[in-house]
């Protein structure tokens, strides 16, 4: 394995992508909105809304209905809190968990779109194909950069989120709400698998796409399963418990390994060569 060449490609790709505002801005802004601004809005929003509208009873009945569907362990966690606190804890500790998966998915797919379709568009890929690396090394190198970046950005987003949620939780109820085992499992076990799946999808979209925008728009559909998880969680169809997250991660890793194995077998540098 030509590690030096792989590392050279990873470094170069990340260096180039860091100069693309169209890529960097969403990677910074979306985690900031989701994991810095959103937690505070969730913590203090319901209380402010109740104070101004005075509809505590309606909120209480909604939360009550949702709690009936929750596993017993979760119901215990909510015990001893006011309705608005229950609402905030539910949204911040559980509700937003599926949404977290948007981060690795978004980062990996946007970077992969730039790395494959973007390079094809900028006509820089052809020179790389004439280098002495093998098809497999090229495949690994092109995936490794976006994957490692998305895992790191996921971790940073999580740390930011923990700080913001705990700050808000401490101010509102003198409690540190995060991290818990479910989130740790989600970030360290599920998130890297999701990042990998986003990449594999984007690699194949990019091989057929004409450019970065084309690839990114087509590949944007990879967020749909995450939105389904989000809806499921919010409507009480499922709950992100540690067990659920472990099983979800296992299923995603198995899917990823199967896809990667098939993709690496089918991957040929010829597919990346611009026509002509």
């Amino acid at each position: 394995m030509n590690k030096r060449a792989i590392l050279a490609i990873v470094n170069k790709d990340l260096k180039v992508v860091a100069q693309n505002k169209g890529v960097v801005i969403p990677i910074i802004v979306i985690p900031l909105i989701l994991f810095v601004i959103f937690p505070w809005a969730m913590m203090f929003g319901p209380a402010l809304a109740n104070d101004s509208l005075g509809n505590t009873q309606s909120l209480e009945s909604q939360i009550g209905q949702l709690m009936i569907t929750m596993p017993a362990a979760l119901q215990n966690e909510f015990a001893g809190h006011s309705i608005t606190q229950k609402m905030s804890i539910f949204l911040l500790v559980y509700g937003l968990a599926p949404m977290f998966l948007i981060i690795p998915l978004m980062v990996s797919s946007v970077l992969a779109a730039d790395s494959f379709a973007g390079e094809k568009e900028r006509k820089t890929l052809e020179a790389l194909l004439y280098s002495p690396i093998t098809d497999r090394e090229l495949f690994i190198a092109k995936l490794l950069g976006p994957w490692s970046a998305s895992v790191v950005i996921g971790l940073i987003s999580f740390l930011l989120y923990v700080v913001m949620v705990d700050l808000a939780g401490w101010i509102e109820m003198k409690e540190l709400l995060l991290p818990n085992w479910m989130w740790i499992t989600l970030v360290l076990w599920v998130s890297p698998a999701v990042a990998g799946l986003g990449l594999v999808v984007m690699v194949f979209v990019s091989a057929r796409a004409q450019g970065f925008q084309d690839a990114y728009q087509t590949g944007g559909m990879v967020v749909l399963p995450v939105l389904a998880l989000m809806v499921g969680q919010m409507t009480g169809v499922m709950f992100f418990t540690v067990e659920f997250v472990l099983i979800l991660g296992l299923a995603l890793w198995m899917l990823l390994i199967t896809w990667l194995w098939q993709a690496s077998k089918r991957f040929q540098r010829e597919q990346l060569m611009p026509k002509g």
């Binding site: 030509n2 030096r4 060449a5 590392l7 050279a8 490609i9 470094n11 170069k12 260096k15 180039v16 100069q19 693309n20 900028r122 006509k123 820089t124 890929l125 052809e126 020179a127 790389l128 194909l129 004439y130 280098s131 002495p132 690396i133 093998t134 040929q268 540098r269 010829e270 060569m273 002509g276």
Partner: protein, 314 residues
């Protein structure tokens, strides 16, 4: 006897119904600058991609530096350099970064990277702007940098795909000078794809002419001239009083002299059926007592040969 650097035997590559390279066979000898001529769509770029193991052939065999591009692609590409038609540089990076990246990609010894990059930047007159982003470079500078990149690992075979097609004449001349100078100093074999026939004539030892993926002609420019050029303009200077006599003699050979000889400013101009008839005409003139001061066949350029091969102008 040295083995050919490139050996191609019955090579074919199809893209669906389209046959991009059709039953191609040729050899390229060590150290030569080999011209691969043809207009757009002739199969030149596809051949370069096949020879570097980027494309897989549909049928046929090839060896480059004794290696099979299909089986030994990485080992082969470590010894070849390719300058593509567009420079393929990362324009968001500096010239220095582009070359350093490439040096690492080709696993140049770590201790050598800095000096080799610096050497090439100096040689290609880019040292002053090494730290600037390539996006601000002129086309000629970009192509020079791309050529420097292709040479970073001191390749044994250099593939140049239309190296000057997008350049103005001055920049093209500069790049051609670099090719000539560097191939001499680095001692590598050059496979030059071009439709610039003046460039090919100036640089190439031998040329192959391609049309629609098929090899139409192969040889040195002189060999191809002999084979394909059937009309040759010749200028003749004789003693001042003997011009009319010379014209009469020439008119006696209608099969050899294809146009009526014309006298212009003391020089007789004729068109003959080929280079091989010149000795016979000279002999006849001398035997008739004509003092021949100069008998000069007009230099045939590769462009005329190219069109003759392709059944064009001739």
């Amino acid at each position: 006897m040295k083995l050919p650097v490139i050996q191609i035997s019955n090579l074919t590559r199809r893209f669906g119904e389209n046959v991009a390279v059709n039953n191609l066979s040729l050899d390229v000898e060590p150290g030569e600058i080999f011209g691969f001529l043809g207009h757009n769509g002739a199969g030149k770029t596809t051949t370069v991609r096949l020879l570097n193991g980027v494309y897989q052939p549909s049928s046929g065999a090839m060896r480059v530096l004794g290696l099979d591009p299909q089986m030994d692609g990485p080992a082969l590409r470590a010894q070849t350099g390719v300058l593509t038609e567009t420079p393929c540089l990362d324009e968001r990076l500096s010239a220095l970064d582009n070359l350093t990246y490439c040096a690492n990609l080709f696993s140049l010894p770590q201790s050598e990277v800095k000096s080799r990059v610096h050497q090439l930047l100096t040689e290609f007159e880019l040292a002053d702007r090494a730290g600037e982003k390539v996006s601000g470079f002129s086309k000629g500078m970009k192509q020079s940098l791309a050529l420097a990149r292709a040479l970073i690992h001191r390749p044994k075979v250099l593939f140049l795909d239309e190296p000057t097609s997008s350049l103005d004449p001055v920049a093209a001349r500069h790049v051609n000078d670099l090719i000539e100078r560097l191939t001499l100093s680095e001692g590598c074999t050059v496979f030059l794809c071009t439709h610039n026939l003046i460039e090919a004539q100036r640089l190439c030892n031998r040329v192959a002419v391609m049309e629609h993926g098929r090899l139409k002609a192969l040889g040195t420019p002189a060999e191809l001239t002999r084979k394909y050029i059937k009309r040759l303009n010749v200028e003749l200077e004789t003693d001042e009083g003997q011009e009319n006599h010379a014209l009469q003699i020439l008119q006696e050979y209608p099969k050899l002299v294809l146009s009526a000889p014309a006298l212009e400013k003391g020089v007789i101009k004729i068109t003959v059926s080929g280079r091989d008839v010149i000795p016979q005409l000279l002999s006849s003139l001398v035997q008739a007592g004509i003092s021949v001061y100069r008998l000069a066949p007009q230099e045939v350029n590769l462009e005329e040969v190219y069109f003759a091969v392709n059944g064009g102008l001739q």
